[in-house]
Symmetry: C2
């Protein structure tokens, strides 16, 4: 983590680590009714700017709890970010609690009132008087505009520290954070004014093997290069940085490019794009189309592609076959094939992939058939077995994989494997390399 | 929230509220790499047993941070639940930090060592010596067995308080919590030994209208009846309880049954079953089958059903149509219909629902076609417009709906609406009531 030793513009003396705490407010979080997504979002946003969030405290809507916790956090930190409790109802007590700790007055702001009235007018709704509570701001403080809701964010610089209060709904909080809070923090030298690291996304290689392969590159830079790995479902990320500032950011980018070259097809992309998004970009740039067919993953594979805006440009459609009858009817798979080999077999997967491509007139057909469990399965194909098949302009191949875990995990892993296989074939098609699927025959 | 005034068996004096704090430990949470799902799970589990979690603090893996936070939490609460940091590596420092605050020794437990060795043997892996760190427990404390991993949970009763330490992986933590932690807490009178409330799940009615309709029933019981509403995407839950213990739990159940009767088809189920699960149970009990067809929701509707184990019993399959060609090929929808009305139209939805049912030989066909945005849409059918159609043994109907929000939200809402529509028709088929779809004609 960076300590921002190089930036002395902020209210903090340079050379020491800046402490951030996140205060998430709301009974619904503690009752388990809502996931605390703010921690994930703000933690990642700060991490990308070189700050490790030091602590997150979730408290009830009780004014005393809020004030007590804020007092503690304010004493020991440089920046407190608070979320929630800015609404119009009587259980929204965050403003008052913070004001009492800061010894500040809350004042009525006619500009905020106008914003609230405008929003109600826009949606043709009637404003009730309790909404005017949201027009209160700190006497010595700023307002953060809310383009997606009524409650503005509030910003206070006091005692050499910053308090930033954000509304709870994620669609209001997130753009406010990236568009207004981060630039303000950067101006004060409290976050980096650029990304803190370069992220390489990889697939098909475990964390430890990945480290071993990249070690020769890392060794050349010693401790000057910051390296962090993070394994996810379906991919592993590697983040490179310059924690002490001894390597320039351009040099970190060059090292990352060297790693990407070395990893060849195991390198997916820089940043955070999903495997499906990377496949989509490759299909679009090659002007190719795709259709899918699936049994056990039951719509999850299709949904990975249809989650992308404009998917109709490359995605023709998909079939979810949950009976032999549907496989025969939708994909023209012959009954005798299903009778002889079963619906969970390499032969069925190949017939489904080809059927999907031919029936829907697509260049590529991707199929998954298997047993997601916990019930079902056979001796030959126990729960977790998945046959994948890919029909491509160059040929058609299948592979048999096996995944442990509960139903939802098996479904997700099978989809990730299918996406990564398609991605590799599309990369090879682009570079003119020989298909690895072809080299290795039917089974891999 | 209950205060357990009635139970004096525990170490706490009766008549005061029991304070719980959750301490979640791990850099990965604060860096936004992992969602803090423990808060959601444990908050909900405690809530169901009458306890409102008072605070959740997430700290780094730094031993000093852990110890400092635990000291604060231990002083002001009755029960501290801590998660994470029990692994075998050098950044797992939770045991030592807690021991220093409690003034306890850590001792080596040969029984835990045997458990760890057995698990490694089971998976045919080699145990490294650092794993033996996980065999340390508090000198004066108990061990919670871990059926799904190596690190046991740890349990300490000291100073009239309880500390419970749980491993971080959810598949290890969750069964340990429900099977071992809750029964122990109940024996000490620190949670109720039964559910704290009856939950009615409803759909199709907003929170405030729901309250208005149920108010006559609530009024008869005054403040003796605890009432809480919670709106989710697609359904609203209403929880009934007896906060002061003045109404017996059997009576609360009777009141809930009265509410369910009054709500008729707007009542979905008791507890937490999803709309898809309720539809699945209805289809299975009526021995009917279902197939689906979808454009914009792109596999999400099919996936709602295939997420249920044994779905092949009632679910025939689904088509994801992302081009006119696929709609024609897969569902035999005539080209002239698509040319005349467009793929996003009531006519197309009806043809898709009927095509899905007939082609796949199912009793019911459910279809969704629309624009999920943010790109696409037309003047007549702007982004967010969804045409739904239901082909049932009694007839076929369509309805046009409009949903605001980003792409993923529109997809989810459209699927929820379709599921609820199907559920209502299945309930009516079961009770022999006239289909409301039929009564109201094509548009609703």
């Amino acid at each position: 983590m960076l300590s921002h030793d190089t930036n002395a513009n902020g209210p903090k003396a340079p050379g020491r680590r800046i402490r951030y705490e996140l205060l998430t407010i709301g009974d619904e979080l503690l009752l388990g009714l809502t996931v605390n997504g703010h921690l994930e979002f703000i933690g990642a946003q700060l991490g990308a700017r070189g700050i490790e969030l030091r602590r997150n405290v979730t408290v009830t809507d009780d004014a005393e709890d809020i004030a007590q916790q804020f007092r503690e956090s304010w004493e020991r930190t440089d920046v407190v970010i608070a979320t929630g409790g800015l609404g119009p109802t009587c259980d929204d007590r965050t403003r008052e609690a913070m004001a009492s700790v800061l010894g500040q007055k809350l004042v009525f702001d006619p500009a905020i009132e106008q914003h609230i009235r405008d929003r109600f007018a826009l949606f043709g709704r009637k404003m009730t008087s309790n909404n005017l509570k949201q027009a209160m701001r700190f006497e010595k403080g700023d307002v953060l505009q809310n383009a997606n809701g009524t409650a503005p964010g509030l910003w206070v610089e006091q005692d050499g520290k910053v308090l930033c209060m954000l509304p709870g709904p994620p669609n209001e909080l997130q753009p406010m954070f990236t568009e207004q809070v981060l630039p303000r923090l950067a101006r004060l030298g409290l976050v980096l004014d650029r990304e803190a690291y370069v992220q390489l996304r990889t697939a098909g290689v475990g964390e430890s093997l990945l480290e071993t392969r990249l070690q020769p590159i890392f060794d050349r830079h010693g401790s000057k290069l910051g390296i962090a790995f993070c394994a996810h479902s379906g991919h592993v990320d590697c983040r490179l940085s310059s924690p002490g500032g001894e390597i320039s950011f351009a040099e970190v980018e060059a090292i990352a490019a060297e790693c990407a070259d070395l990893l060849r097809e195991d390198f997916v992309c820089y940043g955070n794009d999903s495997l499906a998004k990377v496949c989509a970009d490759l299909l679009r740039s090659q002007e190719k189309t795709l259709s899918v067919a699936e049994t056990a993953t039951g719509g999850l594979l299709a949904n990975a592609f249809t989650g992308i805006c404009g998917a109709a440009k490359f995605f023709s459609g998909g079939c979810v076959c949950y009976s032999n009858d549907s496989t025969m009817q939708l994909l023209d798979v012959p009954e005798c094939l299903l009778m002889q080999h079963g619906a969970v077999s390499a032969e069925a997967a190949v017939a489904m992939a080809t059927g999907a491509a031919e029936k829907l007139g697509a260049d590529y057909g991707l199929a998954i058939t298997g047993f997601a469990g916990p019930c079902g399965g056979s001796n030959e194909n126990p729960v977790g077995t998945m046959h994948l098949a890919l029909h491509a302009p160059q040929g058609v191949w299948s592979r048999k994989l096996s995944f442990p875990g509960p139903r939802a995990t098996i479904k997700r892993r099978a989809v990730n494997s299918a996406l990564d296989w398609l991605r590799r074939e599309l990369v090879r098609a682009q570079t003119g390399a020989v298909s690895v699927s072809k080299q290795q025959g039917v089974m891999q």
